[in-house]
Amino acid sequence: MAEGLSSLLFFAALGAYLLSMLAYSLALGLRKGAAWGAGRGLALVGALAHLGSVVFRGLAAGRVPWGNMYEYSSLLGLLLVVSFLVLGRGSLKSVGAFVMGGAVLTLAAGRILYVPPGPLVPALASYWLKVHVLAAVGGSAVLGLSFFPSALFLVLEWVRRRARHGVLVGAGGAGIEAGDEGGLLGALPSSELLDRAALALVKIGFPIWTFSILAGALWAEEAWGRYWGWDPKETWSLVTWLLYAAYLHARSSRGWRGTRAAALNMVAFASLLFTYYAVNLWISGLHSYAGV
């Protein structure tokens, strides 16, 4: 019963996120307050349904609902939306369409990896599962969220440069010149705001990720007899950590802003995705017994 209910709510959430994505997209085009509100409301409704899905999943399995890749993806999607709703209030609403799109993709990808709820192998039956995995999902959600303002920043820079170029050569491209704040560009936040938002999110996500690695090491110590053994998952989580550390350093001590910082954030995000999907699906290591 709980399994069916969990699935039902999962698809309800997926649908709500899809609608929310549409509403946010409309809001970008129409620039009507009602559309922003609809996007946010739908995302909230979706998140509530999603929370229900996660809770019932836990009840069906009789344990914390983050023990395999489907559950992890579902929770990641939920935390992505929640962190967007909490941290992205107001200033970040313009990336709503993209964030909701990301959530839809995360959920869809997770559903492909669906397995019925069941018990865990003994190695996973530890209280560290609760701490380590929850921190990993939370950190991923916030760091993942920082991808969106950076990506939008790069796209906007590109569009604005093209627009300026169009004006300079006097070709037909003068439609969206830099001063055309009435069009789509005007609906989007300033580059500086996006740049700052990305940094603020990395600053929140980075310590959570750090903590997750630490908790993982403590668990590894207890389960495998060593806190660090260069298992592919450990290695990649460290690579991701190093990249986000490089991002923070580039900003604080090298004064990187804008395009270069955003590009580095893209690389770090790619590594984050790799740590999660590729290491579990393609590379065999100790974490692969977590199953898909």
């Binding site: 090491a217 403590l218 110590e221 389960a223 660090w228 053994g229 592919p232 690579v239 990249l243 923070l248």
Partner: protein, 467 residues
Amino acid sequence: MVLLLLLGSGASLGSFFPQRSLNPAAVDAYFLRHPALAPYLDALGLFDVFGAWWFWTIALLLGISLMGCLLPRLRAYLRALKHRPGPREAGPLPAFLVTGPSGAAPGEVLDRAGRILTRRGYRVARGDGWVAAEKGFLREAGSLLFHASLLALVGSFVLGRAWGFQGQAAIVEGDEWQDARVNYDFIREGRFFSGRFPDFLLKVEDFTVTYHPSGLPEDFRTRLEVVEGGRRREVVVRVNHPLEVAGVKVYQASYGWAPVIRVSQGERVLAGGPVVFITDPRTGVARGVVKVPGARPEQVGLELFLLPDPQVVEGVGLVNASPLPEHPILLFRLYAGDLGLNVPQSVFSLDKRGLRPAGDGFVPLGGEKEVAGVRVAFPELKEYTVLALTRDPGRKWALLFALLGLAGLLPGLYVARRRVWVRVSERDGAWLVEVAASPGGERAEEEYRRVAAGLLGAEKVAVSGRG
């Protein structure tokens, strides 16, 4: 920063190529598949990235540059702590600036500025006509703590490995195991490991696996009696629940079947005792080997397969249905000839070059079977447990520094360093108050605005913006 990126890409290589330390068999397989390429990759250390000289060179360079950065910063920080904030006479224009005439006397204005800033957690210094204040020292302290801890953490990791060891031992139920180098089935000793084993005794009372109804294992537990320095105690080692004895941690690593097999010819018992079998995880069939050099007229070897729960499936043949020992049987093939024992060889395989098949048979638990004059009996089915034993003296330090680093990271990221200057000077016969501050984000500006509003009144500040 470049070093950070280099180290990251170096480490990522280690997950693309099989690593000797993690999976030596995969490295061998890679050599077979790419015979031309593999030796070059090996020379570059790609099969042992985390032991390669270049990997640790990058790490060392990173450590040195970190150290070279930390020491001057630490010195500057200590100096800044000792000194009081100074006046701002010249220099670049600060990000936030408010000026306004003052009705009150200079001394009174500066007193008030001092009070406001102190209440907001600033360290305040007062001079002739000015007040300078700063806060956010915790940021630099946190950052320093974080980086120093990181360095110490890596140090603990390296030294812990160098002074420790990792080993594994398979112990059959009912057997005793003495902690000594020869008794390990596998051991990796650190470069500076003393070679002194703490010399405790483990007696495996029994080993049990419990299963979920679905057939998934639920728990593995080894019941042990530990004898250490004349004291005995009973413990249970489970996955995620290690035992600590004499600085060594003992983990449940693996397990398998150890059928008791007796081989005899006539009245002569040639071999008897539990034999460690290796289970194929896909089929659940365990495989083992018994070598009988004392057989006459020729040496004899047995290749055996254990099926704990055999079932005949139509069209497939004999398969193993579950890991539960419902009706265990042993299938065996007898080989006769020369075992080739004059050279060291694996206990899990037969060197068949000097051997020829001499017959097949099977024995159920409790039965016996004679093939070609050799009697094989299977009186008992035991299990063995594989325990992993590790000693890592750097472990506690690593944890300490990891926690310290985390503690330093938070203020290092979130505490903002802020400086405010208030100056009162005479201009055109009136007192002029100037408030300046170091650049900062939105929240810093909000705070500066409040400080200025407290001094000059909110309406004046509202119209002024960035300086």
